[in-house]
Symmetry: C2
Subunit: 318 residues, 2 copies
């Protein structure tokens, strides 16, 4: 019997679970809508049924050796999800234990950005690297740090909160209750806030003026920027400046070989990448300049979250 | 024969070298003035003579097993000191190799803040800790990170440059050529700059107005702050606010168990500690609040630099 792992990515909207072999091949995957379940018990029941259905045709050939879970506010040490603002279930949720009980194999849990970093190390562009950072740019901003070949969990399991470093103590209100977190500027919603600010403050023509402000998305801003829309380009310039600065400050601390950009907003392409890279180099101390690679994640995007979560299992088995 | 190591701390003004046993006892130490030597060859010659004199009465009982060197801009991987602004000798200096040649034992080199972190882990308050940071507050600001029980050297050996994270891109000019580095605000000279700004900008009475501005030192500001001088207290409040913010941002990334303050300015006492701690907690994400210990270094200050450098040797032997 060949060993396989189950990778589960729990997002605020959807949960995706997939069976992955040691080479990073996804054999099958299922998904349910996380936000449809008011009670965690009902969610677990539905997800377990889907996973069992998916495993049925595989079970003659494969043996499940473990479950890896990536979840917002996931804590590696406790196996719990603690007070995740984007999930309907509040408090401390012992998810690793709940999956362990249902499937009778070891279950490991960490936050989604840490899972992405392990996935990058095992299947992606960080293969062979010992020191790198993965920065996830999506609804929020997250990060996973690898130092000396090991993921940095920190003393309490919560390390890697780049999105909640403060770039301006009098800046934008963040979902965490504080002001000026990086996430309020360089996430998809941060970019949208910047774009709306620019539309409100200037008279410069922009295609985006034809849309209701609420309906503007990061994808639309990226599209218009690529089409040459001056204000959309400026929104990305501002975003890249703030992101580049925080990447430079991060490099000063851990001196990684590379930084990988991951997640929906990173797919904006050169309109985001070029200013981010320019300001990162501008704000770097001379000894770090022209040395640290800024790269896109090499995880296949349809499966990236599952691969990351499943990689946790192989990492533990090693 | 009992094994001993030689710890060498190279500062811009003085070099101190001492023989240390495995328990952190300093058996003897010598010092020479670094800045008196225009040529590195003359410096090495003089220092070697002093060290040999010091070792003569010890050599019947002790065997030297290695040399640890802490130096500004010291690189662990290459054993070199690269373009140190505070040393008279320019370029890339292969100091580890030079000491190895003269004493015929292994020589390891790193920057002074990393050496302090290893010293804290081996002989100080970080014994038993796996994740902590040492922040050196002196002429400059440095830092040494320990993650998963290992010092973070980073990809290229230059990790830990907290003093050169940028807190204000339009801020004070730094010795590194950039603007707004933490070091320009929270080093001894940064505090002095803040004090002089306050004296120039306000009319508030202050004892420090009786001195020539150039002659004001961090020690004098600390003394007056403890005496209740309103402007001196404000200078520390500003310093603590900026330091507290960067410590909070650092915690968000590596989630250490403790941060140790080390170096001359850290001896200012509560006038610096209280605002630093207050703002660190204020700017921390909720999951980190009231959890991370802010502590003073427990290395005996007369010997701290030697202990840190010598600890490098024991760390390598382990």
């Amino acid at each position: 019997m060949e060993l396989i792992s189950l990778g589960i990515d729990i997002g605020g909207t959807n949960t995706i679970a997939g069976f992955v072999d040691r080479n990073g091949k996804v054999l099958d995957k299922v998904s349910i809508r996380t936000c449809d379940y008011e009670l965690i018990g009902d969610y677990m029941h539905a997800l377990t049924a889907e996973i069992n259905n998916s495993f049925a045709p595989l079970k003659d050939r494969y043996s499940l050796c473990g479950i890896g879970i990536g979840a917002p506010n996931g804590n590696y040490f406790t196996g719990t999800v603690d007070f995740a603002p984007n999930l309907r279930w509040k408090g401390v949720l012992p998810l690793a234990e709940m999956f362990h009980q249902r499937f009778n194999v070891p279950a490991v849990l960490t936050n989604d950005a840490n899972a992405a970093a392990i996935g990058e190390m095992m299947y992606g562009g960080a293969r062979g690297m010992k020191d790198f950072v993965v920065v996830t740019l999506g609804t929020g901003v997250g990060s996973g740090f690898v130092v000396n070949g090991e993921l940095v969990y920190g003393h309490d399991g919560f390390a890697g909160e780049l999105g909640h470093t403060i770039v301006d103590t009098e800046g934008r209100l963040c979902g965490c209750g504080r002001k000026g977190c990086l996430e309020t500027y360089t996430s998809a919603s941060g970019l949208k806030r910047t774009m709306i600010d620019l539309l409100n403050k200037s008279e410069t023509p922009s295609n985006l003026r034809h849309f209701d402000l609420d309906s503007i998305s990061a994808k639309m801003i990226a599209f218009e920027a690529k089409m040459g829309d001056i204000l959309a380009i400026e929104a990305f310039e501002i975003t890249g400046k703030i992101l580049g600065l925080q990447l430079a400050n991060t490099i000063a601390l851990t001196s990684p070989e590379a930084i990988f950009l991951y997640g929906g907003l990173s797919k904006s392409g050169d309109v985001l990448f070029a200013p981010t890279h320019k300001y990162m180099e501008l704000y770097l101390l001379n000894i770090f300049q022209n040395k640290v690679k800024l790269l896109y994640s090499e995880l296949e995007s349809d499966h990236a979250a599952i691969l990351g979560a499943s990689a946790l299992v192989w990492k533990e088995l090693n």
